[in-house]
């Protein structure tokens, strides 16, 4: 079983940038064809309210670039000290090469930097952190982790089953080598559910665009969606989430030798308020310990949802206090993982919206 303990790595900074356009579900009502009754129920149950998305052409890498520059400037990081750059995304700049390598040059890092992409979504922050901590444990001193998605570009524009949930965000996380800082990770994968959350087209298995009209009995409406757009079976993903996450926490409590009472924050991936409420109910956790508002304000930020929650709602406490945290991601793959990580007054600025001045990329 993939259970790992590290004792050399710590998080020094977390910054998040979201899309510059704020959309309100009330304004999007007609676009998605919601009647008053279903809109009322979606707002009340799922927590749909607003989301932040990018303007046409802005990529995840642009959001992450702004987040990384913020950390470099504020902490006075000497760029040649960054030895590895990881980029967790499902919305890279190109199908190939890895966007992380392009970001090495764009961020002005040394050619001695190790850089590559990791293709994960909702579980991506925990997996990215795991990989970064592994590098530090292996001897590297400074790792930059970038995570996020322009999820609004991955869904069909009028797909009311998915598009109203998604927000765009890109985070940067700086990880440093220290003496004696324990952290614990537990990870899982289950490919039997790969078809429940998938972009089927555009890669080798189904290489060409084949528009199709999908009628999905689970979702009970007809949405125009092509093979190049993300499909979600909401019922299956909900069922998976409420079953695996409580179990995952029990495993982590046992492995890390901690109890629920000792933990200051459970920062989970933020798909929507409803899933989080159901998980916290099963774990009997107080609302103040398990934030659940992120998706209602910013949208589902995929791999940036955990840093997005810290920079969106918990930035003061993460900046000023020593905290014991559990982070947990779960979703597309199906993939899920959790970690116990302590933080000590790290740099966590309040979330920023994307500033066009960072869109200065001269590439094609």
């Amino acid at each position: 079983m993939a259970k790992v303990c590290f004792d050399r790595a710590q998080i020094s900074a977390i910054a998040t940038t979201v899309g510059d356009r704020k959309l309100s579900i009330d304004d999007e009502k007609e676009k998605f064809g919601f009647d008053d009754n279903s809109l009322r129920r979606l707002k009340k149950t799922i927590g749909l309210n607003s989301r932040y998305v990018v303007s046409e052409g802005v990529c995840t890498s642009d959001l992450c670039y702004q987040s990384a520059i913020d950390i470099f400037r504020r902490l006075g990081i000497d760029k040649k000290d960054v030895e590895a750059l990881l980029f967790v995304t499902q919305s890279p700049d190109y199908r190939a090469p890895s966007t992380a390598i392009i970001m090495q040059e764009r961020l002005g890092l040394s050619v001695d930097t190790l850089a590559y992409d990791i293709n994960l979504g909702c579980s991506g922050f925990v997996y990215g952190l795991f990989t970064a901590f592994s590098f530090i444990q292996s001897g590297l001193k400074k790792v930059l982790l970038l995570v996020g998605d322009v999820a609004s570009s991955l869904t069909g524009k009028s797909d009311k089953t998915l598009a109203p949930l998604m927000g765009d965000a890109g985070s940067a996380i700086l990880i440093d080598r220290v003496e004696n800082q324990k952290s614990y990770f537990v990870m899982h994968s289950d490919g039997s559910g790969y078809q429940h959350l998938i972009i089927p087209g555009g890669a080798c298995r189904r290489p060409y665009l084949r528009p199709l009209l999908t009628e999905d009995r689970d979702i009970e409406d007809i949405s125009l969606r092509s093979d190049m757009d993300m499909y979600m079976n909401g019922g299956e993903i909900f069922n998976f989430s409420i079953k695996v996450v409580p179990k995952l926490f029990q495993e982590l409590f046992e492995f890390a030798g901690v109890t629920e009472k000792e933990i200051d924050y459970f920062v989970l991936h933020q798909p929507n308020k409803y899933i989080l409420q159901n998980i916290s109910k099963r774990l009997a956790l107080g609302e103040e310990k398990i934030p659940s508002k992120t998706a209602s304000v910013f949208g589902n930020q995929n791999s940036a949802s955990i840093p997005g929650t810290i920079n969106g709602f918990l930035y003061e406490n993460f900046s000023n206090l020593k905290l014991k945290n559990i982070f947990a991601g779960f979703g597309i793959g199906l993939s899920w993982g959790a970690c116990y990580v302590e933080t000590n007054t790290i740099y966590t600025p309040q979330v920023k919206t994307f500033d066009r001045r960072y869109y200065n990329w001269s590439g094609s």
Partner: protein, 76 residues
């Protein structure tokens, strides 16, 4: 739980105003949609009943939702 309490729980879970009868056809219940299915799955999960989304597709009448609760229901 008694059957009539369970019918009340179903009604509450689906956010309905009208009372449920066992013979009612699910397709005639406006509130029985994807959102209701999520709420029902959460409700069954809390009762310790394992249901997956596919199970709901086969159901025709309210009494089949009642039958899913299985041993959780006691005689009247």
């Amino acid at each position: 739980m008694r059957k009539r309490d369970f019918l009340e729980l179903l009604k509450e879970t689906m956010g309905m105003e009208e009372d449920l009868e066992e013979e009612m056809l699910l397709e005639n219940i406006e509130e029985y949609d994807s959102l209701a299915v999520l709420s029902l799955m959460a409700m069954y999960d809390e009762l310790g009943v394992n249901v997956i989304p596919k199970d709901f597709r086969k159901l025709k009448r309210v009494k089949e939702l009642v039958a899913l609760a299985g041993e959780n229901l006691s005689d009247e």
